[in-house]
Each structure stands twice: as structure tokens, then as C-alpha cells.
């Protein structure tokens, strides 16, 4: 065991894994990494199982001190990492000497950057997961974001001779392309006229500043309900695009409420959830409809890329 000290926590840094499944019927949504794909790849780069606990940083990264030598990987958006004052590459495993300080800065691209460490962070598991659920104060360290002075336990694993694992640039760019968000038809798309549906799909929406892990609020052309703006409360899936009374879409995200009463016009496909996790305030997005078969094909393609990283020689 060794420790990593939080010198500066950054804007909002939380412990995340792939989520806390199996408790939605008690009102607890899964939470988990906002960009699960980056977390999985980061873990694979350092030789962890892909769901090991890692740090999720948001918009502005933190500063961390490593007590002993560790192998780390940074994935997701480029937060301009510096190790003891020298620039560190993203998307590859790196050797961090004992006593070193890693500093992350403000984002250069999307909203989230992941720090994975070989052996993984050892965090008390709550209902089967270490994932922080900020809204309900579950998981992580006392259910909240990291604070200055927090000490994180790491099950240190070192390879005898360190050799950096690097991912092909093309694989990274294929995984991160984010021109459009693909969606499938929503459960209540019949609540909207064809004109309103057209408006939804041709319009550009801007991510609002009051977006968080619970949901992304979008501003842009308002969508009018043909009739009722409320439904009998029913389960709400991850990535559901709700149209509330105001007409401006809300995308339900990893800490979403488990049930809801607003009509859902569309649903972000599984293969694009990591793109949503990288959106930041003022980003512009458009929705593009695909079939359920098309959504699944994209997910399979993405999984085969992840598998190729897993099976590539160390």
C-alpha cells in the first residue's frame, strides 16, 4: 500500500468506477464515470481491470503528490498534465517517481479527465461500488468530491521493467469523435407533432451552465408538446432527453432521478454516452436519430476497439 495526497482537489474531483447497479428500484441511480470509456481505457493502460476505481476530474484538474513510485495513465480530455514541472502525455502509461507532484490544469478540450493508477485506488465500497453519487452523498470519500489534504490509498503494483503502453492515435480519435449525438426514438415521441420533432433534430442546442452529473440542461429552440406536458410517472433511462413544460431539453445523466414525469422525445445511444460526459457549458450539439439496430452496431464497433486495447501486448 502507498498513498496519493490531494494537494489541490481541482474544481470537482470524485472517485468513480463503472457504477452502482441493482438499486434503481430503491431510487438509487447507478452513477459511475461520466465518460466510462476513458475510465476503462485508462485502467487497461495501467494493467487494471477496466472497472477499477479512478479519479474523475471536471473542467479544472487538481494537484497530487505520490508517496512512492507509481504507474499512472491520464485519459479523457487533455487537462495539460505536468509532472514535476514537465509535460506528461495523455493516453499512455507513465512512470511517476516517489515524491513526485502531478499537476493538472484547466481543460484544453472536453469536461472530464481521468487519472488511473496501477493497482487502483482502494476505496470503501458502498452497495457494491466506490462510485461517488454527489446528489445522494453515497460512495467515494464520505459521498463527496475530494478536498485539499485528502489521502487516497493505492494498492501499488509495479512492473519490474517499466515500458509505456500507448494507444494508437487513430483509435483515440475514433472513440472521441463528437460532432453529433446519436439518439434513438424516445418513449413519448408521439407527444410531439412532426414539425416539433423536425425542429428538435435540425436545431443546435447549447449546454447550459447549470448542467451537472444529474442532467444536462440545454438551451435553444423550444419544443412544444402537442397535448399533455406530463405523463404518469415512470422509470427514466440514462440518456433520456426530456422535454419539460419550458420546452428546452434536459438530458438525464449518470446521477439521474430513477423515475420522472416529463415526456421523453429521444434517448442518447449507449455508444455516445461518453460524448455526453465530455460536454461542457457553452458546447453546441445536435441530435441525430438512428435505429435501434444502428445504435447496437455502433456499440459493438466501439467494444471491439476497447477489446483491441485489452488484447494488445503489454
Amino acid at each position: 500500500m502507498t498513498v496519493v495526497r490531494v494537494v489541490q482537489p481541482g474544481f470537482q474531483t470524485t472517485i468513480q468506477d463503472l457504477g452502482r447497479f441493482g438499486y434503481a428500484h430503491l431510487g438509487i441511480s447507478a452513477s459511475g464515470a461520466a465518460d466510462a470509456l476513458s475510465l476503462r481505457i485508462g485502467n487497461l493502460l495501467v494493467g487494471n481491470s477496466e472497472g477499477a476505481s479512478a479519479l474523475e476530474m471536471t473542467l479544472v484538474g487538481g494537484e497530487f503528490e505520490f508517496e512512492e513510485r507509481c504507474i499512472i495513465a491520464l485519459t479523457g480530455s487533455d487537462f495539460k498534465p505536468m509532472l514535476n514541472g514537465h509535460q506528461l502525455p495523455m493516453w499512455q502509461s507513465c512512470n511517476v517517481p516517489a515524491g513526485a507532484r502531478l499537476r493538472l490544469n484547466a481543460t484544453n478540450s472536453g469536461s472530464r479527465c481521468y487519472l488511473c493508477v496501477a493497482g487502483g485506488f482502494t476505496v470503501h465500497s458502498t452497495l457494491g461500488s466506490s462510485s461517488t453519487h454527489l446528489l445522494t452523498k453515497l460512495g467515494g470519500l464520505d459521498g463527496g468530491a475530494l478536498k485539499k489534504g485528502d489521502v487516497l490509498q493505492v494498492k501499488q503494483i509495479l512492473e519490474k521493467s517499466f515500458r509505456a503502453r500507448i494507444i494508437d492515435e487513430r483509435v483515440v480519435s475514433a472513440l472521441l469523435q463528437k460532432s453529433e449525438i446519436h439518439v434513438t426514438e424516445g418513449l413519448q415521441s408521439v407527444y410531439f407533432s412532426s414539425e416539433e420533432l423536425d425542429r428538435f433534430y435540425v436545431s443546435t442546442y447549447v449546454v447550459s451552465g447549470d448542467s451537472n452529473r444529474m442532467g444536462l440542461r440545454l438551451t435553444g429552440p423550444k419544443i412544444t408538446h402537442a397535448g399533455e406536458a406530463e405523463i404518469v410517472t415512470e422509470g427514466a433511462p440514462l440518456g433520456a432527453v426530456q422535454i419539460p413544460q419550458s420546452g428546452e431539453p434536459i438530458v438525464l445523466f449518470v446521477e439521474h432521478q430513477t423515475t420522472g414525469g416529463y415526456p421523453k422525445i429521444a434517448n442518447v445511444i449507449g455508444a455516445d454516452m461518453h460524448v455526453v460526459g465530455q460536454l461542457k457549458p457553452r458546447d453546441s450539439i445536435r441530435f441525430r436519430k438512428v435505429t435501434f439496430a444502428g445504435a447496437l452496431a455502433r456499440l459493438r464497433e466501439q467494444e471491439s476497439l476497447v477489446q483491441s486495447i485489452r488484447s494488445s501486448p503489454k
Binding site: 438499486y23 410517472t233 415512470e234 422509470g235 430513477t258 434517448n267
Partner: protein, 228 residues
């Protein structure tokens, strides 16, 4: 009466099973039964179950199963026509309908044209059914409130409703398990913990349980609070 069941793809990794259109105790029993059957399934492909008034949303691993395969499995389950009585409990929720814990009791009383004492009497004399837990951890959607207690939600929701608040919103009543924002009108508070992550199960109430609110005094509330 036979309630028709239908299936809708909700996303590329979730399926909505719907029992009819309305809200009723009969529909609830079907939802509750299927939820229990699916919880016992322990199939790794199912990630989460979200029961509602007349539906269950099932989220699953799309690389391991599909909408149509899951629909087949569930149709078979429902054909079994299981009559086993659910293991539901009745839970008494001690509630202090006192001044500091009931910021909206006067407004509710005015709106319903009932004295505050009558609001308390009507609210605490009914037996409620936990239709499902949703919204936030352990939040019970309760059926069975007297129509005369129906009040509109607050125009501007409170940013912080204390844990244990007993409240009315529209024609529903419920209890806030954790401190959270909320727009329902608060008429009392229970010292019970409705959500405890270290508990097994972590929620006091389960789908299908029946609930009675039992009025207690402020001193009783303080005494019970020590055991939280």
C-alpha cells in the same frame, strides 16, 4: 380483471414493460409482482429495475441480450400466473405534526377548508400503499390519500427540504428520506431514517408495503430521534 401488458424499447439498452394506462391497486400488484420476480432472477444481463405506477423500466446489457429476448423471458414469467402472496409489511411511521416541523400545515388547512387538527386526523387515519420507490433514494410514492387533502405543489420549490419531512404534493403524499430540493407542502416530520446506505436493505420501505402515519408529540419525536 386482465390488465394488458405491452413492451416498448425505451433506449438501446432498456425496455419498458407497461400494464395498461391508469393508476390502480390492481395494476400496482402486477408491477410489484414482476419487480419481485425479476429481482429474484439474478440474471447478470439485467442492470437495473425502475418500477413506476403502471410500468417497469428494465435496463440491461445490450451486448448480452436484446429487447425481443427480454420480452420473451418476461412474457413467460407472467404466464406462470404466480399467486404467492407478497411478503409485504405494514410500517408505522411516527410523525410529529408540530409547528416547527409543519411549515405548510396552515396553508394546507386553509386550502382544504379543514382545521389543522382535521388535516392531521385525515392524513393519519388512512392506510397507504408504497406504489414504488423513485426520484431519490428511498422516496416512497404512496397511494391512498384522501382526495380532500389534495393541494397544489409550491409555486417555487424549496431548495432544501429536511430529511424525514412528510409532505403533500397534488393528490400524493410522501416522505423525503434525505435532505433534498422539493416542491411538496410539508405537514410533519418523522424521526425514522428512510434511507441508510449501510442497512440491508438500505431503505425502510419496500414496494408493496403499507404505511400508516402515527401522530406523536414533540417530546416523543425528540426521544425517538436519539435512536436514529
Amino acid at each position: 380483471m386482465k390488465i394488458p401488458v405491452s413492451f416498448f424499447p425505451a433506449s438501446d439498452c432498456s425496455l419498458l414493460v407497461k400494464f395498461g394506462e391508469g393508476i390502480s391497486l390492481d395494476t400496482h400488484k402486477r408491477v410489484s409482482l414482476l419487480t419481485r420476480l425479476l429481482l429474484n432472477e439474478k440474471r447478470k444481463v439485467i442492470r437495473n429495475l425502475h418500477p413506476g405506477y403502471n410500468s417497469i423500466l428494465i435496463s440491461y446489457d445490450p451486448l448480452a441480450t436484446s429487447h425481443s429476448e427480454l420480452e420473451m423471458v418476461i412474457r413467460k414469467m407472467l404466464e406462470q400466473d404466480i399467486q404467492a402472496e407478497p411478503n409485504n409489511r405494514s410500517v408505522e411511521v411516527p410523525t410529529c405534526y408540530g409547528d416547527e416541523y409543519s411549515p405548510d400545515l396552515k396553508d394546507v388547512s386553509k386550502h382544504c377548508k379543514l382545521s389543522p387538527e382535521d388535516v392531521i386526523r385525515v392524513h393519519s387515519s388512512a392506510e397507504y400503499t408504497v406504489f414504488f420507490l423513485g426520484f431519490s433514494p428511498g422516496f416512497p410514492y404512496l397511494g391512498g390519500m384522501a382526495a380532500q387533502l389534495s393541494v397544489p405543489r409550491l409555486a417555487i420549490p424549496r431548495t432544501n427540504v429536511p430529511a424525514g419531512s412528510v409532505a403533500i404534493g397534488g393528490n400524493q403524499t410522501g416522505v423525503y428520506p434525505i435532505a433534498s430540493p422539493g416542491g411538496w407542502r410539508i405537514i410533519g416530520r418523522t424521526p425514522l431514517r428512510l434511507f441508510d446506505a449501510s442497512g440491508d436493505p438500505p431503505t425502510l420501505l419496500q414496494i408493496g408495503d403499507t404505511v400508516k402515519f402515527v401522530p406523536i408529540s414533540k417530546s416523543e419525536f425528540d426521544r425517538l430521534s436519539q435512536y436514529r
